[in-house]
Amino acid sequence: MLVLLAKELRIRYKSTALGYAWSVAYPLALALVFYFVFKVVARIQVENYALFVVMGLFPWQWFQNSIVGASGFLLGNAQLIKKVRFERSLLVLVGVLNDLVHFLASLPVIALFLLASGSPLRAAWLWQVPLLVLLQLGVTFGFALLVATANLFLRDLERLIGIATLLWLYLTPVLYPWDMVPERLRWTLWLNPLNPLIQSWRGALADGHLDPALVAGAAAWAVAALLAGRLLYTRLERRFAELV
């Protein structure tokens, strides 16, 4: 598996001159756009909005990259699937891990934002960050497995996912704080697998604090996503080689 991961990373960086910079530049540029729209134009009432956006957007980017990329994790390796028998879900896991590496690479940027706004680096991150990474890995891998498998059978899912993640981003308190959601709609936040994660990231990064209820919510979603992904995958895996 390490070899597969190294392969994906090498391919991603192969013919790009700036390499690492790209995994940071894209989310940063997005953050800039959102800063302009929400802070400068819409004047959202959030202190230090730039930091606020970065703390939510970077983890979100990991999820989104994996879900959008998931359609290609299997299709892009059609040659391997048709030739050799091996555990194909590894291809999806590797794709997700690849995006995780890019997310980890962008963490120092968040740290810079924190330092710039006078917030300290915390020792508690040593366990909080790995815990959140693990939970998000569960949610992301589960959904990616669902998408990657389903996409073999319904090819235009790929396009649909692009639209869905766009809507999903705006429905998740990434660009706005959750308490700006009107009270009568707040219950919907629990139906959003990404909400407890994004809020936890923000809590941990800004205050070194994790809300147990949110962590439990994220864990529940991780288990649900993994089960659903696994179930679909094991039911359809036999036919992969005919479809890719």
Partner: protein, 255 residues
């Protein structure tokens, strides 16, 4: 008829394989959502291609077997079933031993990676660990006959013959117990073909089970212990290569 697993390398037991003609997947979501009942009805009576029907045979350990037959007779499907890449719709396929499949030449190589990186990737996928691949690296490169400078270049810069040679070199260097070869000898230059044949002969001598799909009937007659003739998904002859090839030629001439 069923023998112990010690002497048996590959067993097909009443194997059937159908492919859907592929319309349902090509339709797309819009069509599926708009006309769900209709699509479901169609899917049930969707035309299927029967690639193999009720095929049974047993290949013994150390046997060198050729599968011959006209295009579309199910040869490649049989190999893919042996490799475990496809699974049968009915019946059972059992294999015993480490398999090295060469289903399509150079398949499994990533064009952006160098030859060396692809060797590692493929070796690992075929079931070796990294240090085992490293230990065989020299032998693989040597067998492929590629220049050392070439090995460090991306595979997309290779000619198709070079890709084929590298693919074959990896497949024969993972110490397979069963080697599956799909029409490999059609590519590669003469010296390389000779080297492939030599290697397959020495494998055969050391007891490796070999299954080849080939249209090169002369080679089949000269080299193999046994030939299986597939025609329209059915096993129609099985025995000494000379006899089976004869049957095949006669049948093709009659068409």
């Amino acid at each position: 008829m069923p023998s112990s697993s010690e002497s048996c390398a590959i067993r097909f037991d009443g194997v059937g394989k159908t492919y859907r003609a592929g319309r349902a997947t090509a339709l797309g979501l819009k069509h599926m959502l708009l006309r769900l009942p209709e699509v479901a009805r169609e899917a049930r009576r969707e035309p299927v291609v029967q690639a193999l029907r009720d095929v049974s045979f047993e290949i013994r350990r150390g046997e060198w077997t050729a599968i011959i037959g006209p295009n579309g007779s199910g040869k490649s499907t049989s190999l893919a079933l042996m490799a475990g890449v496809l699974s049968p719709n009915s019946g059972a396929v059992s294999t015993y031993g480490r398999i090295s499949p060469l289903l399509e030449l150079g398949a499994g190589f990533h064009p952006e990676l160098t030859g060396a990186e692809n060797i590692e990737l493929n070796g690992v996928l075929l079931g070796l660990c990294r240090h085992e691949v490293r230990a065989r690296f020299g032998a693989i490169v040597e067998f492929s006959g590629l220049e050392p400078a070439m090995i460090e270049r991306p595979v997309r810069t290779y000619s198709s013959g070079m890709v084929a040679r590298l693919g074959f070199a990896v497949a024969v260097n993972v110490e397979p117990e069963i080697l599956l070869v799909d029409e490999v000898l059609a590519v590669g230059d003469e010296p390389f073909q000779r080297r492939c044949l030599e290697r397959m002969r020495s494998f055969h001598a050391s007891g490796v089970t070999i299954v080849v799909v080939s249209h090169t009937l002369g080679l089949v007659e000269a080299l193999c212990d046994r030939a299986l003739l597939l025609d329209q998904g059915q096993l129609t002859a099985d025995g000494r290569p000379a006899a089976v090839v004869e049957t095949y030629r006669a049948r093709m001439a009659a068409r």
